[in-house]
Amino acid sequence: MSTTITVEHLARIEGHAGITVELEGKAVRSVRFEVFEGARLLEGLLRGRSYQDVSQIISRICAICSAAHSLTSLKATEDAFGVEASPQTHLLRDLLYRGESIESHALHLFCLAVPDYLNYPSVVALAADHPDAAKLGLRLKKLGNTIQEVVGGRAVHPVNCIVGGFGALPAEDQLIALRRDLQQGMADCQTAIEILATLPPADFCHTPTVFAALQPPADYGYYHGNRIEMLPEGKANGGVTFAAADYRSLTNEKAVPHSHAKHSLFQGRPFMVGSLARVTANREKLSDRAKKAIEKLALTLPSDNPMDNNKAQAVELVFDVEYALATVERLLNEGLKPERPAPVRPRAGTGTGVTEAPRGLLVHSYTYDDAGRIVSADVITPTAMNAASIEHHFRCAAEQAAADSHQALKKKLEMIARAYDPCVSCSVHLLRVKS
Amino acid sequence: MLPAADVPTYQALFTANPYLPQMARIVRVYKMVKDNHLFTMRFTDSELAQTFQCKPGQFAMVSVPGAGEAPISISSSPSRRGVLEFCVRRVGRVTDALYRLRTNDLVGIRGPYGNGFPVERILGQDLLLVAGGLGMAPLRSLLWYALDNREKFNKVILMYGAKTPADMLFREELVSLVDRVDATCLLTVDADPTGTWKGHIALLPAMFDHVQIDPANTHAAVCGPPVVYKFVLKRLLQLGFSKDRILMSLERRMKCGVGKCGHCSVGYKYTCLHGPIFTYWDAINLPEMV
């Protein structure tokens, strides 16, 4: 007897997506992660636009990762034109990136994921019983937004970041206020870890996983670096690395009819990107506080449980707040140099930028003409890369939970989808198919 | 400027901070015509309620907290103290909010503002009131002022035209005037779908055929939609009215009522300070007036 389990419209994720699993008795016949977010074709619409407009337009791919899109876009454009942004610019961009990560992780953990563990439909319902936890989550989320406002000029779709630098630098009093908020954030993170450590385990999907993450040249982070590392199944080291410009070898994407998101495979296998991949690949770069959080959350690496992505996000939250505080203190001690954006001389060519968005690897690659207008643009988003992996994990969970009621299975599937923190608006923006 | 000793207390209230409304309670809401209700209001401060004075043709700024403020003519006659009546047409934000209020609810009122009708100039002379449609609202205070001080005026004539009897503001009240011997009250409708109307069925300017008017000795107060001005003014000029004996009440956007916010300026005058009552002579001398 065959049955179909569907989650028509997945709640508490960004964008419009659903899940369909077909069971034949206890065997799983098919799993589908369906994206029905309309195709906005932004890459196509970019064609002919001046390099100055690109990051503003492309950030509209997704609000939650808008800073990631902006900065990845700037990296790609600066790569194409050989623009050298100043060290201060890079420092501030790194800080902005942390802000987004803090905001995104706090939002995901407290507003989207945690309610599942405790059987609440939403953070609002959660807030009724656990007001302190909800407020703590909101405070951390706000902290991330404040960083983005101070550096990027706006919490969603930053306006201040341009090719070569910034429109304006943060004012000293803004940084001083931010430092105060970050100090509070340090304490909040500690409490957050304690709360998260008490959550019931989510133990229903185990399978060795391939991870992919950016290799940070120095500190653990998201913005710097241009080499990507693929970890073999079930391993925390010994992977292959390649340059961002060769990003196409990362993926041999195929468009599938049930979804507006294309699926990425590496050497024919699905792979996972995001916090869990990063923490696995770059664990030794984390601070002591973050490492303690790993212990506290009983996160074993490499992990074979996609639900651990939630724990990995919590670890990053701890690290990012600490790192952002150190950055702000440094900026305050050294003082901000009043500098104008680096000069830009457009030239024909292709540039690629890769970063770690909160949800994982993000690649932008543009080809410009000599007037600095877009000839073609490719964007590969983390959720697109994760799509095949999400389905893979759906299948595992369905197989491992064959004895469950449909209702219980449905919830598990939703939790897996949510653990990936999928960003559906992002996923429908993919590179063009190679002809 | 300190308020002089003989200035009524309310005026001191409204001059210390001219933007500060005083609260008033809605005493009655009378649904005269669809989307034209008559609101009777009384200041919660009873001394203020008793001492508040105004001239016919003046207006007040009426506030509905949260919705905002709008200039509304004081429809009641200054000769009747204690309460204020406002005939309000429901057109937008503030008036909508006012229509949601019930008896006993509170509004803010400040005023009175504007020049009002130049009653002193009309004393002892004839008064002709010509209203079309909703134009009756600002003329009503003048009408009752004249009737309540009947001895101070010579002839009092009212001509009022509405589309249908159902559209006539203050209908009962005005119909009861028709029989008065000391005033001429000519009520007319363009059409009477119900067939029960006992007054005239004709266009407003036709009312001029029913009375004798002495232009040299009469002031005409006109208010109504643009068509009314168009035909009535023409008729008055034909009769030989001097342009400064024709009075009209203007409407403009207004935010302060006290000559600061700039919205109500016409040409180089402020509707709130120099108006809302202007003579026809003013009107033709001020660009964009009508």
Binding site: H9, A11, R12, E14, G15, H16, G38, A39, R40, L41, L42, E43, G44, L45, S50, D53, Q56, I57, R60, I61, C62, A63, I64, S66, C111, P121, S122, V124, A125, A127, K135, L138, R139, K141, K142, N145, G153, R154, V156, H157, V159, N160, I162, F166, G167, A168, A255, P257, H260, K262, E414, S425, L430, R432, V433 | G66, A67, R93, D96, A97
Partner: protein, 241 residues
Amino acid sequence: MTGCAGDQLVMLNCEDQLLDVVAALDIRDFLMASSGNDEECPLDVALVEGAVLTRRDEEKLNRVRERAKLLVAVGTCAVWGGVAAMDGGRDGDRARLLAETYGPTGAAYDSTPARALHEVVKVDFNISGCPIEKEQFISALSHLLNGNAPLFPQYPVCTECKMRENNCLLIEKGEVCCGPLTVAGCNARCPALNIACVGCRGPADDANTTSALAMFGEKGIPRDDIVRKLRTFAPMEGPGV
């Protein structure tokens, strides 16, 4: 509908007011924030984000319209079409763009040219912005809760820019700043950071596009560039709702 979810995110970003918002409202259906949604009940107010880009969007919007007493378009996508409608969405090119992006399967996707909500259903109020401004959102909600219409400035960004005493990028630096044509409400966010306005909030009520095009033309900027720039977030001239 289809968008980047930025406006919902802004709503969730009202951290300080979020719990008050929730207390003041009876939220029945908020997919991004909750899984306990009632997708059938009648609604007093529906806040709708995103542009209509699929037949599915259109059906859904029609359903929401039937359910809601008031429908509020939230965000530039909903109000004007947003970036997906850029350059008119290159409607002529759509099939080709789809095929280019998704290969042969692309043709089968449910995909229609981008439309603003008002092109599909009656919209009662607009809260524009890409994304919307927190303050405007909270203010609109507060007014709606009291039965009053939301109150927003109609004038352009320039006005707020001057109120903030910013330097003028258009006059002093000759940049293509969309401030004179774009509706205010962001407190001239970008010019305050020395960044020319890109018009993310959509056109001001009374935008004089003809004169602005001539003005930029005099600065030697090719007309096509300006037109495309002005049409990034919204058609240049559009209906006020």
